[in-house]
Symmetry: C2
Subunit: 177 residues, 2 copies
Amino acid sequence: MRAALDLAREVGYVKLSIEGVAVRAGVGKHTVYRRWDSKGQLFLDSLLSLNGPVLDYRDTGDIKADLRRQIYAAVDLLGTPPWGPLYQALLGEAQHDPAVSVSLNERFIRPQTEKTVARLRAAQEQGQVSPDFDLDLVMSILSGPLYFQFLVTREPITHAYVDRVLEALFTGLGPRP
Amino acid sequence: MRAALDLAREVGYVKLSIEGVAVRAGVGKHTVYRRWDSKGQLFLDSLLSLNGPVLDYRDTGDIKADLRRQIYAAVDLLGTPPWGPLYQALLGEAQHDPAVSVSLNERFIRPQTEKTVARLRAAQEQGQVSPDFDLDLVMSILSGPLYFQFLVTREPITHAYVDRVLEALFTGLGPRP
Protein backbone atom coordinates (compact mmCIF):
# COMPACT_ATOMS: atom_id res chain seq x y z
CA MET A 1 0.00 0.00 0.00
CA ARG A 2 2.91 2.27 0.79
CA ALA A 3 4.39 1.32 -2.60
CA ALA A 4 1.09 2.27 -4.24
CA LEU A 5 0.89 5.65 -2.53
CA ASP A 6 4.53 6.47 -3.29
CA LEU A 7 4.15 5.48 -6.90
CA ALA A 8 0.88 7.40 -7.26
CA ARG A 9 2.57 10.55 -6.01
CA GLU A 10 5.12 10.18 -8.81
CA VAL A 11 3.04 9.06 -11.78
CA GLY A 12 -0.46 10.15 -10.78
CA TYR A 13 -3.46 7.94 -10.12
CA VAL A 14 -4.48 7.58 -13.77
CA LYS A 15 -1.21 5.99 -14.79
CA LEU A 16 -0.94 3.85 -11.69
CA SER A 17 -1.25 0.17 -12.52
CA ILE A 18 -1.35 -2.98 -10.41
CA GLU A 19 1.72 -4.15 -12.36
CA GLY A 20 3.59 -0.94 -11.49
CA VAL A 21 2.74 -1.33 -7.82
CA ALA A 22 4.02 -4.94 -7.87
CA VAL A 23 7.32 -3.86 -9.43
CA ARG A 24 7.74 -1.08 -6.87
CA ALA A 25 6.92 -3.42 -3.99
CA GLY A 26 9.25 -6.08 -5.39
CA VAL A 27 6.57 -8.77 -5.57
CA GLY A 28 4.78 -10.59 -8.36
CA LYS A 29 1.67 -8.94 -9.77
CA HIS A 30 -0.44 -11.93 -8.71
CA THR A 31 0.48 -11.18 -5.11
CA VAL A 32 -0.98 -7.70 -5.54
CA TYR A 33 -4.03 -8.96 -7.45
CA ARG A 34 -4.78 -11.50 -4.72
CA ARG A 35 -5.25 -8.66 -2.30
CA TRP A 36 -6.84 -6.01 -4.55
CA ASP A 37 -8.63 -7.03 -7.69
CA SER A 38 -8.78 -3.48 -9.03
CA LYS A 39 -7.15 -0.08 -8.70
CA GLY A 40 -10.30 1.23 -7.07
CA GLN A 41 -10.15 -1.35 -4.25
CA LEU A 42 -6.48 -0.49 -3.71
CA PHE A 43 -7.34 3.23 -3.50
CA LEU A 44 -10.12 2.54 -1.02
CA ASP A 45 -7.89 0.44 1.26
CA SER A 46 -5.16 3.08 1.02
CA LEU A 47 -7.61 5.82 1.95
CA LEU A 48 -9.01 3.90 4.92
CA SER A 49 -5.56 2.85 6.13
CA LEU A 50 -4.13 6.36 6.32
CA ASN A 51 -4.04 7.52 9.89
CA GLY A 52 -6.11 10.62 9.42
CA PRO A 53 -8.08 12.45 12.04
CA VAL A 54 -11.21 10.55 12.97
CA LEU A 55 -14.26 12.22 11.47
CA ASP A 56 -16.51 12.10 14.49
CA TYR A 57 -19.08 14.67 15.50
CA ARG A 58 -18.71 16.50 18.74
CA ASP A 59 -21.80 17.31 20.70
CA THR A 60 -21.25 20.67 22.33
CA GLY A 61 -24.99 21.39 22.24
CA ASP A 62 -24.55 23.80 19.29
CA ILE A 63 -25.39 21.89 16.13
CA LYS A 64 -24.21 24.55 13.68
CA ALA A 65 -20.84 24.86 15.38
CA ASP A 66 -20.42 21.08 15.57
CA LEU A 67 -21.31 20.61 11.89
CA ARG A 68 -19.00 23.43 10.88
CA ARG A 69 -16.12 21.94 12.83
CA GLN A 70 -16.66 18.47 11.39
CA ILE A 71 -16.98 19.72 7.80
CA TYR A 72 -13.91 21.96 8.17
CA ALA A 73 -11.95 18.86 9.26
CA ALA A 74 -13.13 16.89 6.21
CA VAL A 75 -12.37 19.79 3.86
CA ASP A 76 -8.92 20.34 5.39
CA LEU A 77 -8.20 16.66 4.93
CA LEU A 78 -9.09 16.90 1.22
CA GLY A 79 -6.63 19.79 0.95
CA THR A 80 -3.80 17.70 2.43
CA PRO A 81 -1.99 15.27 0.09
CA PRO A 82 -2.55 12.50 -0.60
CA TRP A 83 -6.18 12.67 0.58
CA GLY A 84 -7.74 14.93 -2.08
CA PRO A 85 -6.28 13.35 -5.23
CA LEU A 86 -6.67 9.87 -3.76
CA TYR A 87 -10.34 10.39 -2.92
CA GLN A 88 -10.96 11.97 -6.31
CA ALA A 89 -9.29 9.03 -8.08
CA LEU A 90 -11.33 6.62 -5.97
CA LEU A 91 -14.60 8.34 -6.90
CA GLY A 92 -13.49 8.35 -10.55
CA GLU A 93 -12.93 4.57 -10.40
CA ALA A 94 -16.30 4.12 -8.67
CA GLN A 95 -17.98 5.58 -11.80
CA HIS A 96 -17.04 2.58 -13.91
CA ASP A 97 -16.37 -0.13 -11.35
CA PRO A 98 -19.58 -1.00 -9.47
CA ALA A 99 -17.72 -3.21 -6.96
CA VAL A 100 -15.65 -0.20 -5.88
CA SER A 101 -18.78 1.87 -5.48
CA VAL A 102 -20.39 -0.83 -3.29
CA SER A 103 -17.30 -1.11 -1.04
CA LEU A 104 -16.95 2.66 -0.77
CA ASN A 105 -20.54 2.93 0.43
CA GLU A 106 -20.35 0.01 2.85
CA ARG A 107 -17.01 0.93 4.38
CA PHE A 108 -17.04 4.72 4.34
CA ILE A 109 -20.23 6.50 3.26
CA ARG A 110 -22.73 4.46 5.30
CA PRO A 111 -20.87 4.71 8.64
CA GLN A 112 -20.45 8.48 8.08
CA THR A 113 -24.16 8.76 7.27
CA GLU A 114 -25.12 6.97 10.48
CA LYS A 115 -23.00 9.31 12.59
CA THR A 116 -24.45 12.34 10.83
CA VAL A 117 -28.06 11.24 11.27
CA ALA A 118 -27.43 10.45 14.96
CA ARG A 119 -25.93 13.89 15.65
CA LEU A 120 -28.78 15.62 13.81
CA ARG A 121 -31.41 13.56 15.62
CA ALA A 122 -30.02 14.76 18.95
CA ALA A 123 -30.15 18.35 17.65
CA GLN A 124 -33.72 17.89 16.49
CA GLU A 125 -34.68 16.62 19.95
CA GLN A 126 -33.03 19.73 21.46
CA GLY A 127 -35.07 21.99 19.15
CA GLN A 128 -32.06 23.14 17.13
CA VAL A 129 -33.31 21.53 13.92
CA SER A 130 -36.78 21.97 12.49
CA PRO A 131 -39.07 19.10 13.56
CA ASP A 132 -40.28 18.97 9.93
CA PHE A 133 -36.82 18.32 8.51
CA ASP A 134 -36.46 14.85 6.93
CA LEU A 135 -33.40 13.50 8.77
CA ASP A 136 -32.86 10.53 6.45
CA LEU A 137 -31.82 13.02 3.78
CA VAL A 138 -29.35 14.91 5.89
CA MET A 139 -26.22 13.26 4.48
CA SER A 140 -27.21 14.03 0.86
CA ILE A 141 -28.22 17.53 1.76
CA LEU A 142 -25.19 18.41 3.85
CA SER A 143 -22.54 16.72 1.77
CA GLY A 144 -24.15 17.00 -1.68
CA PRO A 145 -23.10 20.67 -2.15
CA LEU A 146 -19.53 19.74 -1.15
CA TYR A 147 -19.35 16.79 -3.52
CA PHE A 148 -20.84 18.96 -6.29
CA GLN A 149 -17.97 21.42 -5.83
CA PHE A 150 -15.39 18.62 -5.44
CA LEU A 151 -16.46 16.48 -8.41
CA VAL A 152 -18.33 18.78 -10.79
CA THR A 153 -17.34 22.44 -10.65
CA ARG A 154 -13.89 21.60 -9.21
CA GLU A 155 -13.68 24.94 -7.46
CA PRO A 156 -11.76 24.99 -4.18
CA ILE A 157 -13.84 24.21 -1.10
CA THR A 158 -12.96 26.94 1.38
CA HIS A 159 -14.11 27.38 4.95
CA ALA A 160 -16.06 30.42 3.72
CA TYR A 161 -17.91 28.20 1.23
CA VAL A 162 -18.75 25.74 4.02
CA ASP A 163 -20.10 28.61 6.16
CA ARG A 164 -22.28 29.88 3.31
CA VAL A 165 -23.63 26.40 2.55
CA LEU A 166 -24.49 25.81 6.21
CA GLU A 167 -26.21 29.19 6.45
CA ALA A 168 -28.22 28.52 3.29
CA LEU A 169 -29.22 25.03 4.44
CA PHE A 170 -30.33 26.29 7.84
CA THR A 171 -32.23 29.20 6.26
CA GLY A 172 -33.92 26.91 3.72
CA LEU A 173 -35.39 28.03 0.43
CA GLY A 174 -38.91 28.57 1.73
CA PRO A 175 -39.98 31.96 3.05
CA ARG A 176 -40.41 32.08 6.82
CA PRO A 177 -44.03 32.54 7.81
CA MET B 1 -19.98 10.47 -32.82
CA ARG B 2 -22.66 7.98 -33.84
CA ALA B 3 -19.88 5.38 -34.17
CA ALA B 4 -18.72 6.23 -30.64
CA LEU B 5 -22.19 5.92 -29.13
CA ASP B 6 -22.91 2.65 -30.96
CA LEU B 7 -19.61 1.19 -29.92
CA ALA B 8 -20.01 2.34 -26.32
CA ARG B 9 -23.37 0.59 -26.12
CA GLU B 10 -21.64 -2.65 -27.11
CA VAL B 11 -18.38 -2.53 -25.17
CA GLY B 12 -19.17 -0.02 -22.42
CA TYR B 13 -17.54 3.36 -21.83
CA VAL B 14 -14.52 2.02 -19.94
CA LYS B 15 -13.35 -0.12 -22.83
CA LEU B 16 -14.14 2.48 -25.46
CA SER B 17 -10.98 3.79 -27.10
CA ILE B 18 -10.33 6.47 -29.69
CA GLU B 19 -8.73 3.73 -31.83
CA GLY B 20 -11.88 1.60 -31.58
CA VAL B 21 -14.06 4.53 -32.60
CA ALA B 22 -11.82 5.19 -35.62
CA VAL B 23 -12.06 1.56 -36.75
CA ARG B 24 -15.84 1.59 -36.36
CA ALA B 25 -16.17 4.87 -38.27
CA GLY B 26 -13.80 3.60 -40.97
CA VAL B 27 -11.34 6.48 -40.58
CA GLY B 28 -7.78 6.81 -39.33
CA LYS B 29 -7.31 7.37 -35.61
CA HIS B 30 -5.65 10.72 -36.31
CA THR B 31 -8.89 11.91 -37.87
CA VAL B 32 -10.65 11.16 -34.60
CA TYR B 33 -7.86 12.63 -32.45
CA ARG B 34 -7.95 15.87 -34.49
CA ARG B 35 -11.51 16.36 -33.38
CA TRP B 36 -11.37 14.99 -29.81
CA ASP B 37 -8.12 14.78 -27.97
CA SER B 38 -9.55 12.55 -25.24
CA LYS B 39 -12.40 10.18 -24.50
CA GLY B 40 -13.84 12.72 -22.10
CA GLN B 41 -14.14 15.41 -24.81
CA LEU B 42 -15.79 12.87 -27.09
CA PHE B 43 -18.28 11.97 -24.36
CA LEU B 44 -19.06 15.64 -23.73
CA ASP B 45 -19.68 16.38 -27.41
CA SER B 46 -21.82 13.26 -27.68
CA LEU B 47 -23.87 14.29 -24.69
CA LEU B 48 -24.41 17.84 -25.94
CA SER B 49 -25.22 16.68 -29.48
CA LEU B 50 -28.00 14.30 -28.49
CA ASN B 51 -31.33 15.84 -29.21
CA GLY B 52 -32.72 15.64 -25.74
CA PRO B 53 -35.45 17.76 -24.25
CA VAL B 54 -34.23 21.25 -23.49
CA LEU B 55 -33.72 21.71 -19.78
CA ASP B 56 -35.33 25.10 -19.38
CA TYR B 57 -37.29 26.32 -16.41
CA ARG B 58 -40.90 27.23 -16.80
CA ASP B 59 -42.23 30.16 -14.87
CA THR B 60 -45.78 29.31 -13.87
CA GLY B 61 -45.49 31.48 -10.77
CA ASP B 62 -45.13 28.39 -8.53
CA ILE B 63 -41.42 27.89 -7.86
CA LYS B 64 -41.71 24.50 -6.18
CA ALA B 65 -43.78 23.08 -9.04
CA ASP B 66 -41.41 24.54 -11.65
CA LEU B 67 -38.33 23.15 -9.91
CA ARG B 68 -39.97 19.77 -9.49
CA ARG B 69 -40.89 19.62 -13.17
CA GLN B 70 -37.41 20.61 -14.29
CA ILE B 71 -35.65 18.16 -11.97
CA TYR B 72 -38.03 15.33 -12.95
CA ALA B 73 -37.08 16.00 -16.60
CA ALA B 74 -33.35 15.82 -15.79
CA VAL B 75 -33.79 12.66 -13.73
CA ASP B 76 -35.93 10.99 -16.41
CA LEU B 77 -33.23 11.81 -18.95
CA LEU B 78 -30.60 10.10 -16.78
CA GLY B 79 -32.83 7.03 -16.70
CA THR B 80 -33.02 6.88 -20.51
CA PRO B 81 -30.07 5.31 -22.36
CA PRO B 82 -27.57 6.46 -23.36
CA TRP B 83 -27.82 9.56 -21.12
CA GLY B 84 -27.18 8.05 -17.67
CA PRO B 85 -24.15 5.87 -18.45
CA LEU B 86 -22.75 8.52 -20.80
CA TYR B 87 -22.99 11.28 -18.21
CA GLN B 88 -21.55 9.00 -15.54
CA ALA B 89 -18.61 8.08 -17.81
CA LEU B 90 -18.07 11.76 -18.58
CA LEU B 91 -17.97 12.67 -14.90
CA GLY B 92 -15.60 9.75 -14.29
CA GLU B 93 -13.24 11.09 -16.99
CA ALA B 94 -13.53 14.59 -15.52
CA GLN B 95 -11.97 13.26 -12.30
CA HIS B 96 -8.61 12.65 -13.92
CA ASP B 97 -8.72 14.89 -16.98
CA PRO B 98 -8.86 18.55 -15.93
CA ALA B 99 -9.49 19.74 -19.52
CA VAL B 100 -12.70 17.68 -19.60
CA SER B 101 -13.78 19.14 -16.31
CA VAL B 102 -13.21 22.70 -17.59
CA SER B 103 -15.20 22.06 -20.80
CA LEU B 104 -18.01 20.37 -18.91
CA ASN B 105 -18.36 23.40 -16.67
CA GLU B 106 -18.15 25.97 -19.45
CA ARG B 107 -20.48 24.22 -21.84
CA PHE B 108 -23.01 22.58 -19.56
CA ILE B 109 -22.86 23.33 -15.84
CA ARG B 110 -22.44 27.12 -16.04
CA PRO B 111 -25.33 27.74 -18.46
CA GLN B 112 -27.58 25.50 -16.31
CA THR B 113 -26.49 27.42 -13.22
CA GLU B 114 -27.36 30.76 -14.80
CA LYS B 115 -30.86 29.56 -15.71
CA THR B 116 -31.37 28.19 -12.21
CA VAL B 117 -30.25 31.38 -10.49
CA ALA B 118 -32.44 33.50 -12.79
CA ARG B 119 -35.55 31.41 -12.06
CA LEU B 120 -34.87 31.51 -8.32
CA ARG B 121 -34.25 35.24 -8.36
CA ALA B 122 -37.70 35.77 -9.89
CA ALA B 123 -39.19 33.54 -7.17
CA GLN B 124 -37.36 35.47 -4.47
CA GLU B 125 -38.78 38.73 -5.86
CA GLN B 126 -42.26 37.17 -5.75
CA GLY B 127 -41.78 36.22 -2.08
CA GLN B 128 -41.69 32.48 -2.77
CA VAL B 129 -38.10 32.10 -1.64
CA SER B 130 -36.70 33.43 1.63
CA PRO B 131 -35.07 36.85 1.15
CA ASP B 132 -32.18 35.56 3.30
CA PHE B 133 -31.39 32.65 1.00
CA ASP B 134 -27.98 32.94 -0.73
CA LEU B 135 -28.95 32.55 -4.41
CA ASP B 136 -25.41 32.06 -5.67
CA LEU B 137 -25.41 28.71 -3.92
CA VAL B 138 -28.66 27.48 -5.34
CA MET B 139 -27.14 25.22 -8.01
CA SER B 140 -24.89 23.41 -5.49
CA ILE B 141 -27.72 23.13 -3.03
CA LEU B 142 -30.39 21.93 -5.45
CA SER B 143 -28.28 19.62 -7.56
CA GLY B 144 -25.71 18.53 -4.93
CA PRO B 145 -28.06 15.98 -3.33
CA LEU B 146 -28.84 14.54 -6.79
CA TYR B 147 -25.17 14.27 -7.78
CA PHE B 148 -24.41 12.71 -4.39
CA GLN B 149 -26.95 9.98 -5.12
CA PHE B 150 -25.83 9.67 -8.76
CA LEU B 151 -22.07 9.53 -8.16
CA VAL B 152 -21.56 8.40 -4.57
CA THR B 153 -24.34 6.24 -3.16
CA ARG B 154 -25.47 5.11 -6.64
CA GLU B 155 -29.02 4.59 -5.45
CA PRO B 156 -31.74 5.21 -8.03
CA ILE B 157 -33.00 8.79 -8.18
CA THR B 158 -36.77 8.48 -8.10
CA HIS B 159 -39.39 11.22 -8.38
CA ALA B 160 -40.20 10.49 -4.74
CA TYR B 161 -36.58 11.22 -3.79
CA VAL B 162 -36.73 14.51 -5.72
CA ASP B 163 -39.93 15.47 -3.87
CA ARG B 164 -38.37 14.70 -0.48
CA VAL B 165 -35.20 16.67 -1.29
CA LEU B 166 -37.23 19.69 -2.42
CA GLU B 167 -39.36 19.55 0.73
CA ALA B 168 -36.28 19.30 2.94
CA LEU B 169 -34.53 22.17 1.14
CA PHE B 170 -37.58 24.41 1.39
CA THR B 171 -38.06 23.50 5.07
CA GLY B 172 -34.40 24.13 5.86
CA LEU B 173 -32.52 22.69 8.80
CA GLY B 174 -33.14 25.61 11.12
CA PRO B 175 -36.17 25.67 13.41
CA ARG B 176 -38.84 28.16 12.38
CA PRO B 177 -39.13 31.02 14.82
